[in-house]
Amino acid sequence: MKKFELSVDGQPLELRAGPGECEAEGVRSTTDVAAVGQGQYSVLIDGRQHLVSITRGPQGCLTARVAGATLEIRVADPRRLPRDGAGADSGGGREVRAPMPGRIVAVHVAQGDAVTNGQGLLVIEAMKMQNELRAPSEGRVRSVAVRAGDSVGAGDLLIGIE
């Protein structure tokens, strides 16, 4: 069996794998992997069937979907990966970014305004729905990058808060 150093959602994992078997965290299992087309794999672990879908992510990372969940897997790189998602609504976030592509309908604040946690900042529209984006924390508006009528892409910076 060959040794693989992996990280799964940032957690290191050592896997030993050979034809028909593998060992991880001290447990040995029989394995049977079949590629069933377009990045999908039927994986039998001790006979238990799992359908895994693998797509390549950025920087050699693989995204695996299994049983409705998504795992970020890096093979042969045991270093801990930084987690994604330091975006709009995460607690300490100081930036409000577009959660999806859309059009800015209204901007309720201007540079320098004081805002309270949860206060409506702007309204973005996509797929016929208007969504109000709110301040992730108390603070002061440092920058407003968009105006009503602008089209934005997912992840675009909209408003900075300091």
Partner: protein, 506 residues
């Protein structure tokens, strides 16, 4: 019967109507915007014509262009589907002027039911109970505030010209009223070209129950039982079922509900397929909410339990036929549930999630019905409603319909974009849902607006890792070429299968 029918819509409902036309031997004409040239509904039609640019205003809402297309291709009927022009009285009238039959109710019924304040007035006169509220639209936030104070909070703001959850806001506290009024009014203007908003007293923990009716041009009118549509996010339905688990337990309420629906339809001289929506409170009192003068998204659950094809009935009625089924022919069987698969992320507050579907697999099998307007490789446009498919399960009982749905959801997959499939996977495990103990606030209450991340079993995690290793490496875990172990020891079964698997590759 019609010579040719143009379907003034897109997505799953266009597919649905085209299928009905094909079964009836009527050529079906699709229309498409620039965003939809490659959409499934275009491919399924007998003919297809472009009607404009991607924004709905320039294509699917472009009355002139649609009527021009219908006239030039020789269509003598137009099916509007739901949304877009389906509840536009002006369009219905324009069809009539152009000598093309609008497959829906008369323009007068659309107009009267479309102005929600007018509808409330008519129903009140017809003896159908309505929710306490304003009879006219609030002209400004101040007007709204005083009406709200009179009714008492919480209140509901609703677009006077509205429907489908657009331009609707629940307001619990006076300080929220102004912002909510502006948003509701803005959405209403956007969706219905009319900013008017009126107020209703909010029913606490209401259930949404609606009755399907069919009426012909000869005075015939029947109902096709009720649907329970209490599971909503943003005042829009996400899961519907028939019959309603609540109403099933109350035969007397059910009887009164049906009678009210028929009375409501009669009050506006209704014709074609329509739905009378009611709110029901904890004491099983029901109130007229609105009448949808079109085919509903959730019509399949009624079709599954009654066996009656509603789109076919719409076409027959529009062709001047008498109802081909009588009230006694409507014998519901079993229970049906519909899940609306939206391109929305249930783990991020149901944010829209347009984009390319890399893989889409919807289940087949006993008791399963899927109505879809998307497929692998399709890019869900940002311009339209995020509904990409409806997954329905039928079974003799509600309990078994849920069990069947659960199995079907495990088979279904959409990759590339987030969808509400994960919401339904969580929902079918919910004891309250299984008990039928639901109301329109259920999802917000149970999920807090978002869905928890799913747990991954250790074996599933290991499977993912093994697949990933298989994807990146090769020689190391591949079997030596041609080697075959002959043993039959249990512990080797996996290995043998692996060796025998000709398709094993990194």
């Amino acid at each position: 019967m019609f010579r040719k029918i143009l379907i003034a819509n897109r997505g799953e409902i266009a597919v649905r109507v085209i299928r009905a036309c094909r079964e009836m031997g009527i050529p079906a004409v699709a229309v498409f915007s620039d965003a939809d040239r490659k959409a499934p509904h275009v491919r399924l039609a007998d003919e297809a014509y472009r009607v404009g640019a991607a924004p709905a205003r320039e294509s699917y809402l472009n009355i002139g262009r649609i009527l021009d297309t219908a006239a030039r291709c020789g269509a003598d009927g137009i099916h509007p589907g739901y949304g877009f022009l389906s509840e536009n009285a002006e369009f219905a009238r324009a069809c009539q002027s152009a000598g093309i039959k609008f497959i829906g109710p008369p323009a007068s019924a659309i107009r009267e039911m479309g102005i929600k304040t007018r509808a409330r007035e008519i129903m009140s006169s017809a003896g159908v109970p309505v929710v306490p509220g304003t009879l006219t639209a609030a002209s400004d936030p101040g007007d709204a505030a005083s009406a709200a104070a009179r009714l008492g909070y919480p209140v509901m703001l609703k677009a006077a010209a509205g429907g489908g959850g657009k331009g609707m806001r629940l307001v619990k506290r006076p300080e929220r009223l102004r912002a909510a009024w502006e948003q509701a009014s803005g959405e209403a203007l956007k969706a219905f070209s009319d900013p008017a908003v009126y107020l209703e007293k909010a029913i606490v923990r209401p259930r949404h129950v609606e009755v399907q009716v069919l009426a012909d041009e000869h005075g015939g009118i029947i109902h096709l039982g009720e649907r329970e549509c209490s599971l909503q996010r943003r005042h829009q339905k996400v899961l519907e079922e028939s019959p309603s688990p609540l109403v099933t337990r109350r035969p007397q309420v059910r009887h009164e509900l049906y009678a009210a629906a028929i009375a409501a339809a009669r009050a506006v001289s209704y014709c074609n397929a329509g739905t009378v929506e009611f709110l029901m409170d904890a004491e099983h009192r029901f109130y007229f909410l609105e009448m949808n003068t079109r085919l509903q998204v959730e019509h399949p659950v009624t079709e599954l339990v009654t066996g009656i094809d509603l789109v076919r009935q719409q076409i027959l009625i529009a062709a001047g036929r008498r109802l081909e089924v009588s009230q006694t022919d409507v014998v519901p069987r079993g229970h049906a549930i519909e899940c609306r698969v939206y391109a929305e992320d249930p783990r991020a507050g149901f944010l829209p999630c347009p984009g390319r579907i890399t893989r889409m697999n919807m289940p087949h099998g006993p008791g399963i019905r899927v109505d879809g307007g998307a497929e692998s490789g399709w890019t869900v446009p940002v311009e339209y409603d995020p509904l990409i498919a409806k997954l329905c399960a039928w079974a003799p009982t509600r309990e078994r319909a849920i069990a069947r749905l659960r199995a079907a959801l495990a088979e279904a997959s959409v990759e590339g974009i987030a969808t509400t499939l994960d919401l339904f996977r969580t929902l079918v495990e919910s004891p309250s849902f299984k008990a039928g103990d639901i109301d329109t606030g259920f999802l917000r209450r149970e999920l807090g607006g978002t869905l928890p991340a799913p747990e991954v079993s250790p074996t599933a995690r290991l499977a993912a890792v093994v697949a990933a290793v298989n994807r990146t490496s090769d020689r190391a875990v591949r079997s030596p070429a041609g080697r075959r172990t002959a043993g039959s020891r249990w512990g080797r079964i996996g290995r043998e299968a692996l060796l025998a698997n000709r398709g094993w590759h990194g």
